[in-house]
């Protein structure tokens, strides 16, 4: 299959997934208890609205139309970049998401980078010294790392660096110093999980034939590790990073709340507290769109970089 054919197929698949997610996101609103029109009036005036007011607003919001019709309207608006208005702020949902997403992206990317910087050397050292106390210590550390709730780690770091040592701000945003604690919280969890995966990959590679050949021809151990095994073990790291990035966005919701970081995660939690359904639906579709694009780029990068995938029949998805 040529690259062009593959691209068309891949894009088609992505559109189907996007449509399904938009349907899931829109269906969420039918799960919501209570009537959105009633809630909105209640929020605006503070006391119970009359029946006629509710009926009138339902009509104006289009809530009296059948589900399928509302979905089609919402979808066609969404595909033109209109995710509706937030009940809470009255601002377009997409504008709210766009202003906040960079803060979350900064947080997630610095955390991912820091996580990789910790994980790669740790996993290499652990795999090279397999079975020693260094290896055991690294593995235990990584296991404890993946077992810790991120919001709890956030408070532990806050206690140590902001309260006891007083070297970093407790929360808020503005400047690099505010970024350190939230991204460190997320980085440590990621580092633990990446270390576990990478160590297993490395041991896999170290047991393979080409490593035995390299050893047999007398190449020193550290060169075998760095030049041969590590290089191949790093390949799946692109996928791991993409997966990790998804986890990071999920955990960012909680960590942003703890550190009052002005990203989409905290905004989502506030929208949930306020039952701001257009915001919740818009958020799901927005994040899903981001992920569909990331996944497509990851697939494409494999296709371009790895000759086995490029030439193999496996790349039909």
């Amino acid at each position: 299959m040529s690259l062009a054919q593959w691209l068309v197929r891949r894009a088609g698949g992505a559109v189907v997934v996007w449509l399904l997610i938009s349907f899931l996101a829109f269906s969420l609103s039918t799960l919501a208890p209570g009537d959105p029109a009633q809630l909105m009036l209640l929020r605006r005036t503070g006391d119970a609205p009359s029946e006629t007011e509710v009926v009138e607003l339902r009509h104006r919001m289009g809530l009296d139309r059948p589900f399928a019709a509302r979905y089609v309207t919402w979808l066609s608006n969404a595909s033109r970049g209109d995710l509706g208005e937030s009940y809470r702020t009255g601002q377009p949902v997409l504008t709210e998401l766009r202003t906040r997403f960079p803060a979350t992206l900064t947080l997630a990317l610095t955390a991912l980078l820091a996580g990789l910087l910790i994980a790669v050397p740790l996993a290499a050292a652990s795999a090279a010294a397999r079975g020693t106390s260094l290896d055991h210590a690294a593995r235990l550390l990584a296991l404890v790392g993946v077992s810790m709730p991120s919001y709890w780690l956030a408070y532990v770091l806050m206690l140590v660096f902001a309260v006891m040592l007083g070297v970093l701000p407790v929360s808020g945003s503005g400047g690099l110093r505010h970024l350190v604690l939230p991204s460190l919280t997320l980085a440590l969890g990621s580092a633990a999980s990446i270390t576990r995966m990478l160590r297993a990959n490395l041991l896999d590679e170290l047991g393979s034939d080409y490593v035995r050949t390299a050893r047999a021809k007398g190449l020193p151990g550290h060169l075998v590790l760095m030049r041969h095994a590590l290089r191949n073990a790093l390949n799946p790291l692109v996928t791991v990073s993409a997966l990790r990035f998804g986890r990071l966005l999920g955990e960012a919701v909680i960590v942003e709340t703890v550190f009052a970081w002005p990203g989409v995660g905290r905004w989502m939690v506030e929208s949930i507290y306020d039952r701001d359904y257009p915001a919740i639906q818009g958020f799901v579709l927005y994040i899903a769109t981001v992920f569909i694009i990331i996944n497509a780029i990851v697939d494409l990068s494999y296709r371009v970089m790895d000759p086995r995938v490029r030439l193999g029949a496996a790349a039909t998805a």
Binding site: V16, V17, L20, I21, L24, A25, L28, S29, L31, A32, P33, R130, G131, H136, R139, L143, V144, V146, S147, M148, P149, S150, Y151, W152, L153, Y155, V156, M158, L159, V163, A200, L203, D204, G207, G246, R247, L249, G250, E251, V253, I254, T257, M268, V269, S271, I272, Y273, R275, Y277, I280, F283, V284, I287, A288, F291, I292, N295
Partner: protein, 280 residues
């Protein structure tokens, strides 16, 4: 299999932690020194003492007793959620893998779709829409968590379907129902059990995280995440109210992770030996 579990020190340690947790949950009324809901304003924020080993919280409630009773809620919800997830995942996975065809395509497309959004975010959106509470949290998490199981089970069924013993059963006149229940399920369930023990730690983190955000278990119920959320307001004066529940959550998740890793290695010793995980 049990011999392998015991040979692995990590799995043994994990198993011990998990058994101890369930024992604490079952025996909570006898283990807890005080009533976990007993409010005593006169002794709020008390330091650890003989009467209150871990001190008291803002309302003078005994922290240790609340942590002990918390095991009931945290583990209880995880067990119920896991049961729901396993039944949905196994049902869809078996149907998809065994039936194949259009049904399989549709179901797997649904699985792909759910997997394409970060689990925590989708869970948060569903629970947030349903409204806070234990019921909506359990339903919300179960409604997305089953997809991973469905995919694994489908893969297993696809390979099992082609095996000789299934053909033999069919040749002897067994119908589809009998083939699935008697011949395929027994080979699927051990893998599902391992997957469940690997995922339980993750599920505990998700449940306590949602409760921490105020969307799951509501105060004054002594669930660990909810306790941590309660303690947040007093973090600068009484950080122990945040630290203790977090330690307990970490220890529990660690227990399930150790056990899950160990079981996986025990079930697949070839893979374990190759990756050098069996001896540790």
């Amino acid at each position: 299999m049990m011999r392998l579990v015991f040979r692995s020190r990590a799995a043994f340690a994990g198993g011990t932690i998990v058994v101890a947790l369930f024992a604490v949950a079952l025996l909570a009324p006898w283990l807890a020194p005080h009533d976990p809901a007993l409010v005593d304003p006169a002794s709020s924020f008390a330091s650890p003492s003989a009467a209150h080993w871990l001190g008291t919280d803002n309302l003078g409630r005994d922290v240790l007793s609340r942590l002990v009773y918390g095991a009931r809620w945290s583990l209880g919800i995880v067990v119920v959620a896991t049961a729901l997830i396993m039944s949905m995942g196994v049902a869809v996975g078996v149907v998809s893998g065994y039936a194949g065809g259009l049904l399989d395509d549709v179901l797997m497309r649904l699985v792909d779709t759910v997997l394409s959004i970060p689990t925590l975010l989708l869970g948060l959106a569903i629970v947030g829409t349903l409204g806070p509470g234990i019921g909506s949290m359990t339903i919300g998490l179960a409604s997305i968590w089953w997809v991973g199981y469905a995919r694994v089970v489908r893969g297993l069924v696809l390979t099992l379907r082609e095996r000789g013993f299934v053909d033999a059963a069919r040749a002897l006149g067994a119908n589809d129902r009998r083939v699935v229940l008697v011949h395929i399920m027994p080979s699927v369930l051990p893998s599902v059990a391992v997957l469940a023990s690997l995922e339980m730690g993750e599920l505990i983190l998700a449940i306590s995280g949602l409760s921490f955000l105020g969307l799951g278990v509501q105060p004054p119920t002594p669930e660990w995440g909810a306790m941590l959320n309660d303690g947040r307001s007093f973090f600068f004066t009484a950080p122990q109210l945040v630290l203790y529940p977090g330690l307990v959550i970490t220890a529990s998740v660690l227990g399930f992770n150790l056990l899950g890793d160990g079981l996986r290695d025990a079930l697949d010793p070839v893979d374990a030996l190759r990756l050098g995980r069996s001896g540790a």
